[in-house]
């Protein structure tokens, strides 16, 4: 059974990609993931803001009490060598390149035009095969309209595309009012692919302490449905863009669905964090069986078969069908304990 696929110019033996996560931090874990069957790995994002803050904080903390007191001109050692900034991140790309043969995809979240460009070049030079632009951004500024938000992303894509030779993909949030149109513009701007979708850290609140608490839940398969819809829509409309599903891929059936709606690859994180690298092998083997059982001879055959261009009834993708779906849904825990 041929599970091979292409993504961002890479020929991959299967569509299972390790998504952006701390999984890339440990070389041994990366090796185990490759052994388990991962086709590629995406680095966690290099956050320009974090690099900048870290530098500023280090500078401030080191300088805070310097030359203020007769007995001590400083209170911390002044090492001659220290690395602030992306050095460690870039070094990890190099280490992964050296340790495994699967492709490494860099991931970048910039905040300034020069940050996007400089770091993109550095990631390329460090040996990444492709680059995922994590355009993570909460549009909370009431003076900034939707056009401006989209324009900024498009400018980044154009600039980075011009600056690096490796393929680039854009990891999007689902919160665009005109995603199809925006995808067309990203396509025109030179994006080689899209990742659907980013899962944000959603803060929770503590009602007793009255505090906002950063929180991060692992994904569950229900999140896949949102991805399937947009994979179906965009893969039908923009065949030139290579799409990756991210969020809610937990088992082989999820992979099949994502591929059928048009995904070239699927990114897995939560399931791997939960079950370990061996889970990948399980999914791959099951995928193989499922594809076979469904009567395909190669995974590529099923790609996009259920997208907007080919599925028998597009209305389900295009319309809300809100009321009907809601009525048909029954809470399996309705008679059990409350959550």
């Amino acid at each position: 059974m041929d599970l091979s696929t292409t993504y961002l110019g890479l020929h991959l033996p299967n569509p299972l990609v390790v998504g952006a996560s701390p999984l890339c931090d440990d070389i041994d874990a990366v090796r185990r993931l490759e052994d388990a069957g991962a086709a590629a790995i995406v680095m966690h994002s290099l956050f320009e803001e974090q690099v900048k803050r870290e530098r500023e904080r280090s500078a401030a903390d080191l300088e805070a009490h310097v030359d203020a007191f007769a007995e001590a001109s400083s209170f911390l050692p002044r090492p001659s060598e220290f690395h602030l900034g992306p050095d460690e991140y870039l070094e990890q790309i190099r280490r992964i390149r050296a340790a495994v043969s699967m492709p490494v995809i860099g991931s970048l979240n910039g905040i300034t035009p020069t940050g996007w460009l400089d770091y993109a070049r550095m990631i390329e030079q460090a040996g990444a095969h492709a680059l995922e632009l994590n355009t993570y951004y909460i549009a909370s500024d009431p003076t900034e309209d939707a056009v401006a938000v989209e324009r900024r992303t498009l400018e980044i894509v154009r600039a980075v595309k011009a600056a690096v030779a490796i393929p680039i993909t854009v990891k999007l949030s689902p919160f665009f009012s005109a995603l199809s149109h925006f995808a067309a513009e990203l396509d025109a701007a030179g994006a080689d692919g899209l990742v659907l979708f980013n899962r944000f850290y959603q803060p929770d609140i503590d009602v007793v302490e009255l505090e906002v608490r950063p929180d991060h839940h692992l994904s569950d398969p229900t999140e896949l449905l949102l991805r399937l819809r947009w994979l179906a829509i965009l893969s039908g409309q923009r065949p030139a863009l290579q799409l990756a599903a991210s969020g809610g891929i937990h088992g082989a059936l999820d992979v099949v669905k994502a591929v059928m709606t048009g995904a070239h690859t699927v990114q897995m994180v939560s399931a791997l964090l939960r079950h370990g690298p061996a889970h990948l092998t399980k999914v791959r083997d099951e995928l193989q069986r499922t594809v076979e059982q469904l009567g395909y001879t190669a995974l590529a055959e099923m790609r996009g078969c259920m997208n907007l261009a080919r599925c028998p009834d597009t209305s389900a993708f295009e319309r809300g069908n809100y009321l009907r779906v809601l009525h048909s849904w029954r809470d399996p825990r309705a008679n059990g304990t409350t959550h």
Binding site: V51, K52, R55, E56, S58, A59, A60, D61, L62, E63, A64, H65, V66, D67, A68, F69, A70, E71, A72, S73, S74, F75, L76, P77, R78, P79, S80, E81, F82, H83, L84, G85, E88, E91, L210, E211
Partner: protein, 1188 residues
């Protein structure tokens, strides 16, 4: 040519000429060791291509022993020290010299602690080493210090006589100067490889075994001691030769005695050290006026060579003044004076000149050409004083020479600039950078000297910078400045900032006002001075410019740019270009954002710099406020206020206590107004938990509960609300001390009371200080007058303890200090009966550094009695206090027994048997003592008089041995361990910051695995010593580990239990510190994380529990939860390790994480109940063991 300070110049030479460097931090020598450690960490090789081993020891005694061992092993070794540290080396110095070992120790000479400690410079430490057999070579400037370091190393190798190379602490060790530096080739040319080889041949090795350190008897010791004589005889010639060789090599020629002045001088001053440079200036000046004067500078003080001395001294001399920078009370004269007298006495001269001896410059007291002029004037007198002092006013023994304070020699082509900065604003750093730029980019010579006050929060720094066309000899502070910059507006009210402004000088003010409003806001006195001296005044709102540029409170770049623009040293554009270049160099490693931000600020600054148009008359209605309030006691008015005004130099001898005994309770008179923001209390939101008061490091937020009647006459804005959970109608107030608060924000951080409709608002919010200052000052005064809590009914918990009056207040500790809340708590609980022995360190500096001190008294006049002996001896010192106090109590009980018949058995029995646990019992015993005194008056017996003198000791005293981890884990551990083993009732409080905080963050044995500290800059690879566990093993020691930010209730409990346990108690108190490298307003949150992650487990091990089938140990924190790395990454000390070497960080963190688990398992096991057999009872007062 480079600009370096004396310590760096010396360390650079010593490092390259050494293989083993054993050190221990002590001011002002610490930075020499730190440089060596940094160079070794950066793999910088020495002259022989290897990286020296740098080892931090547990004390200077340890460092001396370690170099002794290294020398025995044939290595080239060195060390750096000063003051008491040098004294700890003396035993080894006798050995090293006795064994004729080539060795140089570099000493930044500092005064010895006597009636007081002082970190500043004089020769009393090195003079205490005269009999060790070390040669003594003295440098008088930064250039000489570097050069003499080299000469000493070269000479010792050939002479086999070890050397103390010394130079003046601070004046030379910390002066930044442009000097010609010595390259490796210079050093190579100076070092005799044969001598190095000979030293190696002499090594102790099993391949050619010998024995050293034999014990000798009366038959041989004397002769064997004399056998070394020829080496001492040869040593001076070797020094002469090395000096000559050095002169050939560098053009800088020195001799064991250097004479300068008139060849036929009649009056000559003889001295050594930096003061000779000021004397040199005056001699040049007098010779130009035709006077026959001269200066003999002593370089090689030991071995003292009479022939060389006499050869250097003009034969014409008729009167000599010998100046010593030390004091030997009771001696016929100071050391150099006595040597000179003896030498002249033995000299074969026709006429013997008159010799007088004087002391100058103790503890860095200024020594100026004016004082030298006074000495020459004295020499010209018909009957000069045989002994004198100069630089002070001695109105008691009348030894001091009068001098003209206005006398100034400085030539007009030297730019003299003085900068008043706030400790943390970067002023000193910017000035060091200016010196570097000007010194290294131009032909000008440059000198910088920096004066700091003794406070750790809101400290004032005064930078003295000179730039001139010739090498700068002026070894004293600027007295007439052509440029004065005041970087902090508040200083205008507190210091005479224009005192040093020369007529026509430029004044640069950082003003929080638009330029047009600045003049009107100046006090009248300043306006007058500006007019009188015709100053040009420039102003800038630097904070505003810095904030615009995202630089927070760092105004240094702004002010430095303005200085360059106004100084006239460069054309403006060139000046800006230089600053930018230096800036890029400095911040290269710190990232492009930081550079860009600084560059932008430099570009912006000049646009906001304005010259004031000075009106022709004074117009301000504002007068300078008084330094201290009118209500301050007489001593504070006469003495403290003068010191606070920065005019302590003017106080005469008679102003001072004769023995270093000072009144307590003076900090309250120093209103520093440091905080831009202070807490404001919303009584409606407050839940009255008192946590704000508990965590305040400065006792600047307080709580009281009081009857409503006490509110009569309350100021209008005074806030008060009904006391919760009380039942009565008592009132409750949280009050800030607006002028004492440092604005750290700890109270706001800890406040749990949020307005539930707007949780951003808490019961305490920080608000701008200035608009509230007046009203809150009045409110605070009223608050202080409210009744204090009745100690006998106060509950001993977090809330109750905070109603008790703190007897430790407004210290000079850092804003947000993690140590002081413990001390404050201790004084609230036991302060009225506490004796404190305080080890040298942060707590002795904020606890006892003048002008004002924080320990204070209650309304009865009782309060903590505090003393600092040394660093290393504190446990024994406090133990001695316990013995003394107990002896008084024992004697008092004996006397009571004898007088029982007259006093009444009932009273005597009650006094003797009083249990004295808790405030009720203490109060009852105090009442009995009052009654006892009443009855004693009527008894005309000697024993009654004796009992009167010591009756107060019948009330139980609480003896506290306080210090940091440097003391408890390292230098004082031996003593601490011994005191624990004695079983006596002492309470040891270790304020554990996990580094030597006071000297600048050097590692101690408390430094945790994985943290970077000085001398462990790559991250410590050995775990922290478990001091608590070691103490628990004794079985009769109460041990608690506490962290008030994590569990304040446990902290309070531990203090109460420690005091109650009649044996030894040890409290190890987590103290967040600026040396951890984060904003201390997060200190409490970090304490919580420290405890949660198991980094800092909380426990109490109480011997009273053991024996009841329970374990003594009780864990007070839960099983470790979460990752240590999440705690560690919040602190620069850990992050630095990651930034240097992420893999090492990961490995160390993994080990540390494992260590947490293992330790918890061990503690848990120890805390399990088991049968101890016989219960541990409090020890009875021990009787002395019979001595063998």
């Amino acid at each position: 040519m480079r600009t370096v300070d004396g310590n760096q110049g010396v360390a650079s030479v010593a490092y390259r000429l050494s293989e083993v460097i054993a050190i221990y931090p002590i001011t002002p020598s610490s930075s020499m060791g730190e440089h060596a450690d940094e160079w070794a960490a950066a793999a910088t090789p020495n002259l022989w291509g290897t990286i020296p081993q740098v080892a931090e020891m547990q004390s200077e005694g340890g460092a001396a022993a370690a170099v002794h061992g290294a020398l025995q092993a044939g290595a080239l070794a060195t060390t750096f020290t000063a003051s008491q540290g040098l004294l700890l080396m003396i035993p080894n110095m006798f050995k090293i010299a006795g064994e004729l070992t080539p060795f140089v120790m570099h000493v930044s000479a500092r005064t010895l602690a006597t009636h007081a400690l002082s970190i500043f410079g004089d020769h009393s430490d090195v003079m205490a080493c005269r009999s060790t057999g070390f040669a003594m070579l003295c440098a008088g400037s930064v250039q000489e210090a570097q050069d003499f370091a080299c000469i000493a190393h070269a000479a010792t190798l050939r002479a086999r006589v070890p050397f103390i190379h010394f130079f003046d602490g601070f004046r030379t060790s910390h002066e930044v100067a442009k000097i010609a530096t010595l390259g490796d080739d210079d050093l190579r040319a100076m070092i005799d490889e044969h001598a190095v080889h000979a030293h190696r041949e002499h090594a102790l090795t099993p391949d050619r075994p010998v024995l050293r350190g034999s014990a000798q008897n009366p038959d041989t010791f004397f002769q064997a001691r004399e056998a070394a004589n020829s080496f001492y005889a040869a040593c001076p010639e070797i020094v002469r030769e090395e000096m000559a060789r050095f002169g050939e090599l560098t053009g800088r020629r020195y001799r064991p005695f250097d004479y300068t002045g008139h060849p036929d001088a009649e009056r000559v001053i003889i001295m050594m050290g930096s003061g000779a440079k000021a004397a040199h200036e005056l001699v040049d000046h007098l010779i130009a006026r035709g006077e026959r004067v001269g200066l003999l500078e002593v370089r090689l003080f030991r071995p003292f060579v009479a022939a060389d001395f006499l050869a250097a001294l003009p034969a014409t001399v008729r009167a000599i003044a010998v100046l010593d920078r030390t004091k030997e009370p009771g001696a016929h004269g100071e050391p150099l004076f006595l040597d000179v007298v003896a030498t002249l006495y033995e000299a074969d001269r026709a006429t013997r000149p008159r010799v007088i001896g004087g002391r100058y410059g103790l503890a860095s007291k200024e020594f100026t050409p004016a004082m030298v002029a006074a000495v020459f004037a004295e020499l010209a007198a018909e009957r000069p004083r045989p002994r004198f002092t100069v630089g002070i006013t001695d109105d008691v023994t009348h030894l001091s020479l009068p001098f003209d304070p206005e006398f100034d020699l400085e030539p007009p082509d030297v730019v003299r600039a003085v900068f008043y900065g706030l400790g943390a604003d970067g002023t000193v750093g910017a000035n060091k950078s200016s010196i570097k730029i000007i010194g290294e980019q131009t032909r000008q010579y440059a000198q910088g000297y920096f004066v700091y006050d003794s406070k750790k929060s809101g400290a004032v720094t005064v930078s003295h910078l000179r730039f001139g066309p010739r090498p700068i000899r002026s070894s004293y502070l600027i007295r007439q400045a052509s440029f004065v910059a005041v970087h902090e507006w508040g200083f205008l009210d507190r210091y005479d900032v224009l005192a040093l402004a020369a007529p026509g000088a430029t004044l640069l003010l950082n003003a929080p006002y638009p330029a047009a409003e600045v003049w009107a806001n100046l006090p009248r006195e300043l306006q007058q001075t500006i007019l009188d001296r015709k100053l040009r005044v420039f102003v800038i709102d630097a904070l505003d410019v810095a904030r615009r540029g995202g630089m927070n409170g760092r105004i240094n770049m702004v002010m430095q740019t303005c200085f360059f623009a106004l100084s006239g040293l460069f054309p403006r554009d060139e000046a800006i270009a230089h600053i930018k270049h230096e800036l890029e160099k400095t911040y290269r490693k710190k990232g492009p954002e930081i550079i860009a931000r600084n560059l932008a600020v430099v570009d912006d600054a000049l646009a906001y710099l304005h010259e004031l148009t000075i009106p022709d008359r004074v117009s301000s209605s504002r007068m300078l406020p008084p330094i201290v309030a009118a209500a301050a006691p007489d001593f504070v008015q006469r003495v403290t206020a003068v010191m606070l005004a920065g005019k302590g130099d003017s106080l005469p001898v008679s102003a001072f206590p004769v023995d270093g005994t000072w009144p307590t309770g003076t900090a309250r008179w120093e209103k520093r107004n440091l905080a831009y923001q202070i807490p404001s209390w919303d009584e409606r939101v407050c839940i009255q938990c008192n946590k704000c008061a508990m965590v305040c490091p400065h006792a600047a937020i307080r709580v009281k509960a009081y009857p409503p009647a006490a509110l009569s006459g309350a100021p209008l804005t005074f806030k008060s609300i009904g006391l919760k959970a009380h039942g009565g109608d008592d009132r409750y107030t949280v009050q800030v001390a607006p002028e004492d608060c440092t604005g750290c924000g700890a109270c706001v951080e800890v406040c749990p009371a949020k307005d539930r409709t707007n949780p951003r608002h808490k019961a305490i919010d920080m608000v701008p200080q200035a608009p509230l200052r007046e009203a809150e000052r009045t409110n605070f005064e009223f608050f202080l007058g409210l009744p204090e809590a009745d100690r006998t009914i106060a509950s001993i918990d977090v809330k109750g303890a905070q109603f008790l009056e703190p007897l430790f207040e407004y210290s000079g500790a850092c804003a947000g200090c993690g140590e002081t809340p413990y001390l404050k708590l201790m004084t609230q609980l036991f302060g009225d009966r506490a004796l404190i022995a305080n080890a040298t360190g942060c707590s002795s500096i904020y606890g006892g550094n003048l002008p004002t001190t924080p320990y204070t008294t209650n309304r009865d006049g009782r309060g903590p009695a505090w003393a600092n002996s040394l660093f290393e001896d504190n446990a024994e010192f406090g133990f001695g206090m316990r013995l003394g106090v107990d002896q008084h109590a024992r004697h008092a009980r004996d006397l009571l027994g004898g007088l029982a018949g007259q006093l009444g058995d009932e009273l005597v029995t009650a006094l003797v048997d009083a249990e004295q646990h808790g405030e009720v019992a203490i109060a009852a015993q105090r009442a009995r003592v009052v009654e006892l005194r009443r009855r004693l008056v009527t008894i005309g017996d000697l024993s009654a008089r004796r009992l009167e003198a010591i009756a107060d000791y019948l009330v139980r005293k609480s003896v506290w041995l306080v210090g940091g981890d440097g003391w408890a884990y390292d230098i004082g551990y031996g003593g601490l361990d011994h005191v624990l083993a004695q079983g006596r009732d002492v309470n040891i409080l270790v304020l554990d910051t996990e580094v030597y905080s006071n000297t600048g963050g050097q590692q101690s044995k408390s430094t945790p695995l994985g943290a970077a500290a000085k001398f462990a800059s790559a991250g410590k690879s050995v775990p922290k010593k478990d001091l608590g566990l070691l103490a628990m093993i004794y079985g009769n020691v109460y041990v608690a580990q506490v962290a008030y930010g994590a569990k304040d209730a446990q902290t309070v409990k531990a203090f109460a239990e420690a005091d109650a346990w009649p044996g030894p108690s040890l409290i190890i108190a987590y103290s967040h510190c600026i040396a951890h490298g984060y904003d201390l307003n997060r200190g409490l949150a970090q304490q919580k994380l420290a405890v949660e992650t198991g980094y800092w487990p909380l426990y109490r091990s109480d011997p009273r529990r053991a024996g009841a089938g329970e374990s003594a140990l009780q864990l007070d924190s839960n099983a470790p939860k979460g990752r240590l790395v999440d705690f560690a990454r919040n602190e620069t000390r850990f992050r630095l390790v990651e930034q240097q070497n992420p893999a090492r960080f990961k490995e160390l963190m993994a080990r540390a994480q494992r260590g947490i688990g293992e330790r918890y398992a061990l503690y848990k096991h120890l805390a399990e109940p088991f049968d101890h057999g016989t219960p541990v009872t409090p020890p009875p007062e021990p009787t002395p063991d019979p001595k063998p």
